[in-house]
Subunit: 259 residues, 2 copies
DNA sequence: TACCTGTTGTTGTAGTTGTGACAACATTTA
DNA sequence: TAAATGTTGTCACAACTACAACAACAGGTA
């Protein structure tokens, strides 16, 4: 009587995102533990209704997650997880390559149009994961300069890496409080120690000190701590919005003691 | 009035396998074509009921597939397909790494047990994709020898590649009809020209000539063309089953003229 | 016979899809 | 200014679809 209660529901969730249903998960997990079984045995181990086991096994074997014998009654065995999951992922990846191609075709169709409208917009980004990945994208898009007004939590490892892989023709400046010694400043960045970081009231939050990233003096990402549960950030290419922050940056830079 | 009728349902199918619902697909595709729109405009373009647009946009923005403005009314824009799909895949891949770990733990738990039962089994494999990938796995597991009785269609590029990356300590022999010149024999394989390939009646099909792969004289994969729609193959480690084919192979080899 | 396997069809249930209505706000009109 | 009109965002709920669960049955095997 196998017992793996602790995380079996967790595994189900994960396998569902790979395209399996609840029953398919249960049957596959059951088969992993028994080195071959008949449909009825699978039903007993997994708890899946016996009649439902057959179509489930059918689909699993089509996806090469289980193997079937030629005997009567049929016996079934799970393929090793490594192999099975790789096979699932390969299928998904193949799919995605196709759909990526189709979607970009649609997307490119209107790339020629002017996008003045979009440039005047200020966009919201929710969730720290999203904020992080968008910040990395932004930094990697830099062509001439990156300026970062650094609060406490902005220089995460992915962002440090994005900065350090920038070419030497790109100026990277990071303004820090400069009170405590910091080990998170990439080598190709120039640190501006400016004491307590000043910031406009509008951007201030309670929990997080403000962070701003300005790229090529044309694109700005500002971290807005809304005191609520999920963090959010603003992004814009609007000249007015960008000017607000480049001016701010100039002020900070003017008051920073030379290193 | 955008029109991309040809493949829009196809794209839906693909996106669903990445975890999106029908509405989420429609809204995202609609947004790809318009460079920013309000909820009502999205409703008009995509055909999704206006009231349903809001929760859908909410979920899409959580997954960073669309961006939202701070304006009122809110405006929405799609993130470029490349970026969006990469983000979706990254999530799935991360998931799979975790689940792979959990499943292997379960799987390893019974690896110590004897698997005599399994060794006596003959397993079925359905579908040419599955057959191909299993054949590659089988060849890669070789430790001393690989013997292939080659029909017309077995030496696909993936299999050729699997063969050619085997170490020099592994003997690779491929029996061919040897009538026509072939360019699909990897360099590290020894070709046995045996004229018309003989085969037992039981394995013969109408459409495909029979193919057999024997690895380490212990594992056999035989391609069974069942004249039906989907091709299938047998795999076994059963000594009796394997002996059948090693004997067969010995016969073929005995009659092959030395190269 | 009795038992088990594999298949079919029916019913329940959860999640997605679709409709209508409503308060809040902005814009227009008298 | 006040009323009329229109739009946005939200809510509650009906309809539908795919999956889950069960009951019943034909064909084998002992």
């Amino acid at each position: 009587m196998p017992n793996i209660a602790p995380s079996t529901s967790m595994i189900q969730e994960h396998l569902k995102s790979l395209g399996l249903t609840k029953y398919e998960c249960l049957v596959y997990i059951a088969l992993l533990q028994v080195d071959g079984a008949t449909a009825t045995e699978i039903h007993e181990i997994s708890g899946v209704p016996r009649a439902s086991v057959y179509p489930v096994l059918d689909k699993l074997s089509k996806n090469q997650l289980v193997n079937v014998t030629t005997t009567s009654p049929k016996r079934f065995a799970a393929t090793p997880p490594e192999e099975a999951i790789d096979s699932l992922i390969a299928r998904i990846t193949r799919n995605s390559a196709a759909v990526k191609h189709e979607l970009t075709a649609i997307y490119e169709e209107r790339t020629s149009m002017n996008h003045a409208e979009r440039q005047e917009m200020i966009w919201n980004i929710h969730g720290s994961d999203n904020i992080g990945s968008r910040a990395v994208d932004l930094i990697q898009s830099a062509e001439s300069s990156v300026a970062i007004l650094s609060g406490t939590t902005i220089l995460t490892p992915p962002i440090q890496k994005a900065i350090s892989t920038l070419g030497p023709e790109i100026t990277v400046e990071i303004a820090t409080a400069g009170i405590n010694a910091r080990d998170d400043i990439p080598g190709n960045a120039r640190e501006l120690k400016i004491g307590i970081v000043p910031y406009p009231e509008k951007i201030q939050g309670d929990k997080h000190t403000p962070c701003i990233i300005i790229v090529d003096r044309q694109r700005v990402m500002a971290f807005v701590s809304d005191n609520a549960d999920i963090p959010s950030a603003l992004y814009s290419e609007s000249p007015g919005f960008v000017n607000l922050f480049t001016g701010y940056w100039g002020f900070v830079k003017g008051h920073a003691p030379l290193p």
